[in-house]
C-alpha cells in the first residue's frame, strides 16, 4: 500500500504545479468548447424526449465527477491515515469541496431535466434520495473541517469521515439496480453493448472527459489555495524578528490583524490587563480557513518564541 503512495504523490505534485495548473486550465476550456459544439449542434435529438435530452451531456458528467471527487476524497483520507502527511489531507479537502459543487449541480440539472420528462421537479426515488444523502454526507464533511480543533485532530476526524462516507457512492450507483426506480438504469457502464446511439455516446464521453479535465484544473487551483493559506498561517505564528525577545506582545497583537482575508486572525484574544494570559482566538480568530488557531496576547502576555515556533511547526506538519 505504501509503495503505491509514492508514485501517486509524484503525479499529484506534477499535476498541481503552477505549470500543470495552467495547462489544465487551457485544456479544460478547449475541451468544454468542443463538448458544447458536440452536444448542442452535432448530436441528434432523442427520438422520444426531443431536445431536452441534451441536458444529459451536462447532467451525467456532473454525476460522474461527483463520484470521482468523492473517490479522491476516499484515497486522500486513507493515505492521510496511513502516512499522516498534510498534502493528503489537503487533497481530500479540495476534492470534497469540488465534489459537493458537482453533486449539487447533478441534483439541480436532474431536476430541470426531470420536470419536462417525468412531470415533477423532485420525487423520493432511490437514486435521487441516495444522491441527496451523498450531498448531505459531504456537506457535513466540509462542516467538520471548519471545527475549531487542532489541525491534526481535525484532519484525522475528516479522514475517518472521508473513508466511511465513501460507502454511499456504490449505493448511489447501484440504487437503480437494487430498487425499483423512476430514474433510468445505466446506459454506458452496463453488461454488454451501451444502449445509446454511437454519436450520442461520443458526445457524452467527450463531455465527461472535458469535465474531468476541468475537475483536475479546479483541484490543482484549490490545492494551491490550501498551500498558500497554510503558508500564511505558519507565517502568522512566527514572531516578527524585531519584536522577538524585546517588545512584549510579539507575534500576537491583541487587535484585529487580518490574515488570509479573515479579520481578527493571528491577533485575537488580546488580554486587557498586563500579565493575564490571552485566550486562543477561537471566535473570529480564524486564519485562512483554519478556525480556532491560537492568537497572541495583549501587553505582557506574549507567548514564548519557542512556543510559537513549536505551534507553527505543528501546523506545518499537518498541512505540509
Amino acid at each position: 500500500m505504501k509503495g503505491l503512495i509514492r508514485p501517486l504523490e509524484r503525479l499529484l505534485g506534477r499535476l498541481t504545479s503552477r505549470r500543470g495548473e495552467r495547462w489544465l486550465g487551457i485544456g479544460a476550456l478547449l475541451a468544454l468548447a468542443v463538448s458544447g459544439v458536440l452536444s448542442l449542434a452535432i448530436a441528434p435529438p432523442d427520438a422520444v424526449q426531443g431536445n431536452v435530452q441534451r441536458l444529459m451531456y451536462v447532467h451525467v458528467p456532473a454525476a460522474w465527477l461527483a463520484y470521482l471527487s468523492f473517490t479522491v476524497v476516499f484515497i486522500g483520507s486513507a493515505a492521510y491515515l496511513l502516512t499522516r502527511r498534510g498534502h493528503w489531507d489537503r487533497l481530500a479537502a479540495a476534492s470534497a469541496e469540488i465534489g459537493v459543487l458537482f453533486t449539487a449541480l447533478t441534483i439541480v440539472l436532474g431536476s430541470i431535466w426531470g420536470y419536462p420528462t417525468w412531470g415533477t421537479w423532485w420525487t423520493w426515488d432511490p437514486r435521487l434520495t441516495t444522491t441527496a444523502i451523498m450531498l448531505l454526507i459531504y456537506a457535513g464533511y466540509l462542516a467538520l473541517r471548519r471545527l475549531p480543533e487542532s489541525p491534526g485532530r481535525r484532519a484525522t476526524w475528516s479522514a475517518v469521515l472521508g473513508v466511511v462516507g465513501f460507502v454511499d457512492i456504490p449505493i448511489v450507483h447501484m440504487s437503480v439496480v437494487w430498487w425499483r426506480s423512476l430514474h433510468q438504469p445505466a446506459t454506458v457502464i452496463q453488461p454488454g453493448q451501451p444502449s445509446i446511439a454511437p454519436i450520442m455516446l461520443v458526445a457524452l464521453l467527450w463531455a465527461t472527459l472535458a469535465f474531468t479535465v476541468l475537475y483536475a484544473y479546479l483541484l490543482a487551483l484549490r490545492m494551491r489555495v490550501g498551500r498558500l493559506e497554510t503558508k500564511v498561517i505558519s507565517a502568522a505564528f512566527l514572531p516578527l524578528p524585531r519584536e522577538v525577545g524585546g517588545v512584549p506582545g510579539a507575534a500576537g497583537g491583541g487587535g484585529s490583524r487580518e490574515v488570509g482575508g479573515v479579520p481578527g486572525a493571528a491577533g485575537g484574544g488580546g488580554s486587557p490587563r498586563p500579565g493575564v494570559p490571552a485566550k486562543p482566538a477561537s471566535r473570529g480568530g480564524e486564519v485562512g480557513g483554519v478556525p480556532g488557531v491560537v492568537g497572541g496576547g495583549g501587553p505582557g502576555s506574549a507567548p514564548e518564541p519557542s512556543e510559537i515556533e513549536a505551534h507553527a511547526a505543528g501546523v506545518e506538519a499537518v498541512h505540509g
Partner: protein, 43 residues
C-alpha cells in the same frame, strides 16, 4: 426547439456555477498569495 428554456437554464447554471467557482478560487489564491508575501516581507 422544444423545451428550449430547460436546456438554456441547465447549461447556464452549469456554466455560471463552474466558472464562478473557478473565479472564486483564483481570487482566494491571489489574496492568500498577497498575504503570504506581506508577511514574509515583514520578516
Amino acid at each position: 426547439m422544444d423545451n428550449l428554456a430547460f436546456i438554456v437554464a441547465g447549461y447556464l447554471i452549469t456554466f455560471i456555477s463552474l466558472a464562478g467557482y473557478a473565479f472564486h478560487l483564483r481570487g482566494r489564491a491571489r489574496r492568500a498569495s498577497r498575504r503570504a508575501a506581506d508577511l514574509s516581507a515583514k520578516r
